[in-house]
Every structure is written in C-alpha cells, then in structure tokens.
C-alpha cells in the first residue's frame, strides 16, 4: 500500500536554528498538507499546497514557516528560527483529490527544540 514517508523521524535542535522537515507524498497525489500535534493535544492544520503554491494556511503558519516542493517527489516544511513552542510532531499528508476524505498521513517527524 502506498505510503507517505517523512524524514527525519526525530530531530533535536537548538532554539533559533533552522529546521527542514521532509516528506515524500504518494506519487500520484496532487494535494499536500502539513499538520502539527503538540504533545497531548489535537492535530492542527498548518498549510495546504497545490499546483506549486499555498492553497490555505492557518494562523500558526507565520513568516517563520515556509513550504516547498523542490522536485517531483519531495515536499518540505522549513522553520527558519525555531522557538521552544515549535516542539511538536509534524505530520505530512497528501491526497489525490481536493476532498480531505482521501488524506493519507505520514508517520510524523518529532521536533524537539531546546
């Protein structure tokens, strides 16, 4: 069964450092998403991406965040200057259609900011 893969599985970084989280969506999917989950809390929407541009972003997705699809397979989330409160699990998801019902999530990347 096709999977969304994410790397790294866990990253520890110092506050103020840049972090790039990588995702390989399912190959025939066209819509890409990042969600995050702070420990013990619900999963929160960050951003959606389609046709090489952001479709929608939440208030969490401020100027410190950016997304990119640098090639035909990767979808990245960059945090320019990490803060303690950025510590969370970051989930990438993809879908073939625009309806979220066919969203497939990756296993997540745990980011720990010290």
């Amino acid at each position: 069964e096709p999977e969304v893969t994410q790397t790294p599985s866990h990253q520890v970084t110092q506050m103020g450092q840049e972090v790039i989280l990588r995702c390989v969506p399912i190959s025939n999917h066209l819509y890409f998403y990042w969600y995050r989950q702070i420990l013990g809390q619900k999963v929160e929407f960050l951003v959606s991406f389609y046709n090489n541009e952001i479709s929608e972003k939440s208030e969490i997705f401020d100027d410190q965040f950016s997304v990119e699809r640098p090639d035909g397979s990767n979808f990245t989330l960059k945090i320019r200057s990490t803060k303690l409160e950025d510590s969370a699990m970051y989930f990438c998801a993809s879908s073939r259609d625009s309806g979220a019902n066919v969203l497939t999530f990756g296993a997540g990347s745990r980011l720990t900011v010290l």
């Binding site: 999963v43 929407f45 989930f91 309806g99 296993a107």
Partner: protein, 111 residues
Amino acid sequence: GESVGLHLPTLSVQEGDNSIINCAYSNSASDYFIWYKQESGKGPQFIIDIRSNMDKRQGQRVTVLLNKTVKHLSLQIAATQPGDSAVYFCAEISNTGKLIFGQGTTLQVKP
C-alpha cells in the same frame, strides 16, 4: 468559530465489549465528518466517514452515528480488541476542505 471536541479524554473497556466514543461539533454548516485512529508513534489513520445527509454508517466492526439536531457524532466499535487501543479523533471538513480535528479520546482495552 469552528470547533470540534470530544466529551471524554480516556475510555477504558474490557476486551470483547463494545466501545462508544463521542464527539460534539459546533459548526452546524459542517456536512462531512471523519473518524481517525492514531496509534502510538504513527500518523492519523482514516477509519470511517459520514456525510450530513446520513445519520448512520457502518464499516467493519465500526459504526458512526450522526445526530445533527444536537451536533453530536459517535464512533461505536464492536467487540473491542487490544489492537483497537489508540487515540481516536473526530474531524470535520471545513468549507475550504481542510480537516479540523477534535481533542482526541484515548481508548484503552483491558485484556
């Protein structure tokens, strides 16, 4: 504003019993809901969905009930098994197509 919430943070059941996980939503305009299962160390996994023109939908050992009058959603798991132990999230689809997740209920299955 939009919000989706769950009534109980933790539900503990005996193996073989039926489980019922509840969810309340606030946006009466929502017309599509999904239950996700999240096992430890994994991403959310789609379980079952329901549209607002239905009040019940059944899958394999799972049933989702939707009561639009009181804006309540429930997930019923029949004959709960140890493998069902996970966090369960309800989610609604916003009018822009993004998922809005509830807080999550941890289901613990006792042998």
